[in-house]
Amino acid sequence: ETAVFQTPNYHVTQVGNEVSFNCKQTLGHDTMYWYKQDSKKLLKIMFSYNNKQLIVNETVPRRFSPQSSDKAHLNLRIKSVEPEDSAVYLCASSHRDREDTQYFGPGTRLLVL
């Protein structure tokens, strides 16, 4: 049963455009994450949010910005996309304090032309 929801499933855009991806979890977790999976299928952490506070910010370009309205939602905005941003973006959630199992959404596949 899906408990981490992501929209859209797929997005095609052109270089320089702005895109925004949404993520919502219904598990009552207090921490959410964004991961990027590149063309070589390697998954890397981008951001982690705990109770609306950024607690991990890997060295991603400034054009990426996470946005959270509450602990159940974590969106990702990309200003002025570049070709190398083409990837699958995966949202996940967990309980931080228990270093609990992370649950992943289905991903948003971005293609930048």
Partner: protein
């Protein structure tokens, strides 16, 4: 930084055979998860096993923390097991951020 190495990179089995997947990591892990990623891309958590042995269905994971390694055993493989198996760890003080290995791509033939 932390590194997670998985082997083999790919594996082809006949249906009914067993598979043994390996994960080695460079730091002491406080959390270790095995994931399955379908050919369609969705990521599913299989087992959370930072130490010891855990079973679920046809899957058995054994993690030896002090040796920084974990294995995933799949018994009596089925064609529906085909996909990529990913190992991921987090370490103390990392706020539970996961570092992933590159995965083992499994193909089970009928």
């Amino acid at each position: 930084g932390q590194q997670v190495q998985q082997s083999p990179a790919s594996l082809v089995l006949q249906e009914g055979e067993n598979a043994e997947l390996q994960c080695n990591f460079s730091s002491t892990a406080t959390q270790l998860q095995w994931f399955y990623q379908s050919p369609g891309g969705s990521l599913v958590s299989l087992l959370s096993n930072p130490s010891g042995t855990k079973h679920t269905g046809r899957l058995t994971s054994t993690t030896v923390t002090k040796e920084r390694r974990s294995s995933l055993h799949i018994s009596s493989s089925q064609t529906t097991d085909s996909g990529t198996y990913l190992c991921a760890i987090s370490v103390s003080g990392s706020f539970n951020k996961l570092t992933f290995g590159a995965g083992t791509r499994l193909a089970v033939c009928p």
